[in-house]
């Protein structure tokens, strides 16, 4: 298929609050190709969840305003669509898995009834499905995610299940429709290490089988490295680097990406890094020019004035940093 399934072009967004505007997103550029698994790395406060919420159009629209940009899904601008069209996309084309499966499931309804609703409204649109059919699809969905005894699980309430099982149910629910794009926001963060491993392997399996596109958002770099084809690094409301995943972790170029990767505790070497000096910027009054400049070891005068755009270092590796302006491909020590 030609083109990209999702293209976010120059998206800028702010929140209107007491004291002014929180200029959270500042020209986000982001593409996801068909059947591509894209990772999005960023720390808390970088704006990654806000971007995803904007895509799914579930931002609190009272305080959030989009000042410019487009979000193209299969070539059509989501921001210009009306409610009905967006609903259709949400039901059939894009699914989202959240960080905390406990919060994503309604504690007052059994698993079966929640799945039933999804089947009725997303899959069954247009055709009348009998009770038997709905139940059968529900059992099939749970079987797909390796839940033991799916039939009994349908009767359970979320509180009776473990965290790993809840996350698997959320995944099952996401895969109920014939989706084309899956957005996974920090999946597995609330799970134990061994369970997280299992759930992520399962997710990878399902994604590969169905050949869908995935956006995997996380601040856990290891998870992103193992699953994705291409990865973006996000800082303070815009993308600072994008590359093929393997390339990014072997040869990170942007000073922030390098700092971030060096800060993760390792099984080799000795001792912990000291962290990245400084703090993430304040969105009421963000730094001028490149938002990372106050914390950057390689800061130059132009960094404080003008925000860098993506510079191509390789065909599949771009960096938003003035150091790489003229096709330079590494930082001189």
């Amino acid at each position: 298929m030609k083109g990209n399934i999702l293209e976010v072009k120059d998206l800028s967004l702010y929140f209107k609050v007491f004291g002014g505007m929180l200029r959270v997103l500042d020209g986000v550029n982001f593409t996801v190709g068909h059947k591509e698994k894209v990772g999005l790395i960023g720390e808390t406060g970088s704006g990654k969840t806000t971007t995803m919420k904007a895509i799914m159009k579930i931002l609190g629209m009272t305080t959030a305003r989009i000042s410019k940009g487009e979000i193209l899904f299969e070539g059509r601008d989501i921001l210009k669509m009306n409610k009905a069209e967006v609903q259709k996309i949400r039901r059939k084309e894009i699914s989202m898995i959240f960080q905390d499966p406990t919060a994503a499931l309604n504690p007052y309804f059994s698993i079966g009834s929640q799945i039933k609703n999804i089947i009725k409204y997303s899959v069954g649109m247009g055709k009348k499905l009998t009770k038997m059919e709905i139940k059968a699809r529900g059992i099939e969905a749970l079987r797909k995610v390796m839940l033991p005894d799916p039939e009994r699980t349908l009767e359970f309430y979320p509180i009776q299940l473990s965290g790993g099982m809840r996350q698997r149910i959320c995944i099952a629910m996401a895969f109920l429709s014939n989706l084309n794009l899956l957005i996974a926001d920090e999946p597995g963060t609330s799970l134990d290490v061994t369970i997280k491993d299992q759930v992520l392997r399962l997710l990878q399996d399902l994604v590969d089988k169905k050949q869908i596109s995935v956006i995997l958002i996380s601040h856990a770099l290891g998870m992103v490295k193992n699953i994705t084809d291409r990865t973006y690094v996000m800082y303070a409301g815009s993308m600072v680097e994008v590359a093929k995943t393997a390339e990014l972790f072997i040869n990170p170029l942007h000073p922030y990406s390098r700092a971030l990767i060096s800060v993760v505790p390792k099984l080799t070497g000795r001792g912990m890094s000291q962290g990245i000096p400084g703090y993430i910027p304040e969105y009421l009054n963000p730094p001028s020019g490149c938002r990372f400049h106050p914390r950057c070891n390689y800061v130059m005068p132009i960094c404080k004035v003008k925000k860098p755009t993506f510079f191509k270092v390789k065909e599949t590796h771009q960096v938003a940093c003035w150091l790489f302006k003229n096709g330079r491909s590494q930082i001189d020590q």
Binding site: V24, G45, G60, E282
Partner: protein, 296 residues
């Protein structure tokens, strides 16, 4: 714990805190209306002697030549059967209403909150059982009935009515604070302070109580209207402020007999009562908004 981008918006300046509170409050137009209504009422109540032209109407005064007059320029709300100016009496009645709510809440809130704190903190002790059983008993009887029964055994005047209502009212605060304390007590920050070795008094009043403040203040504001309403209900049946003191409830009761002919006797005090209660309710909503931490 998810930190949102919005924690950065906060600073430590006191004036800015006031400004921010105002910002949150003023987003809801109804709260502003409530604030205005309350201001007007308080202004009228305080400056009653300077605004009204017939101050004798609140005392033992009779003027049958002017009695049963419909609303006119000299008597904006008309006169009652004794010839007293209803407008003057209504304004003075505000004073009684506000006084009643002030006294009742000044007694019942501290008592209720303290008992709630103690009962909530010392969960497995006799004092908890004692306090909560008493609270349950009081709460199981409708407030009005309970107040009536207490008034029935005490001499009939405004003071005893206020005592009676306070007797009933503390239990709501006790129950509310008990609920909050029960959950706050298990929080890590309380455990941490206990582990450091802080004294019980400090923990109750300096660590736990501030976490209840938002609910207490909100309820307090909303209660002003409720107390006035209960007070007026009691005076409607003859308790509370005794004649000739002007009081909304007794004025409504007195005028009820003469409906629909002397409609102004009941109508204006009733509207006034509605305005007070509504005003404080809307204000209470706005105050609740100030304490609500909204998601960005």
């Amino acid at each position: 714990m998810k930190k949102t981008i919005f924690s950065q918006v906060l600073t430590s300046k006191k004036w800015e805190n006031v400004q921010r509170s105002w910002y949150k409050f003023s987003r809801n137009r109804l709260s502003i209306i409530g604030l205005i209504v309350v201001f007007i009422i308080m202004f009228l109540a305080i400056f009653a002697p300077f605004i009204t032209v017939h101050p004798e109407s609140v005392s033992r005064y009779v003027n049958f030549s002017e009695s049963k007059q419909p609303p006119s320029l000299s008597y904006p709300f008309g006169t009652d059967i004794y010839g007293r100016d209803i407008f003057t009496r209504t304004i003075y009645a505000f004073r009684i209403s506000l006084l009643m709510s002030f006294v009742v809440l000044s007694i019942s809130v501290p008592v209720g909150v303290t008992l709630g704190l103690i009962a909530g903190y010392f969960r497995n002790s006799w004092i908890n059982i004692l306090i909560m059983r008493i609270t349950d008993i009081f709460l199981s009887i409708p407030a009005l009935i309970l107040a009536l029964s207490i008034c029935a055994i005490l001499p009939r005047n405004l003071t005893t009515t206020m005592i009676a209502i306070s007797f009933v009212w503390w239990t709501w605060y006790c129950r509310m604070v008990y609920g909050i304390v029960s959950s706050v007590r298990g929080e890590f920050f309380i455990q941490a302070v206990e582990l450091i070795g802080a004294g019980k008094l400090h923990i109750l009043f300096k660590e736990i109580l501030p976490n209840c403040l938002s609910e207490i203040v909100t309820k307090w504001t909303l209660d002003i209207g409720s107390v006035i309403l209960i007070g007026s209900s009691l005076s409607f049946v003859g308790l509370g402020a005794q004649p000739p003191t002007a009081d909304l409830g007794s004025m409504i009761a007195a005028g009820a007999k003469y409906l629909p002919d002397l409609w102004w006797m009941s109508m204006f005090p009733s509207i006034a009562l509605v305005m007070i209660v509504l005003g404080f309710n809307l204000l209470g909503d706005g105050i609740h908004d100030i304490f609500t931490v909204s998601e960005g």
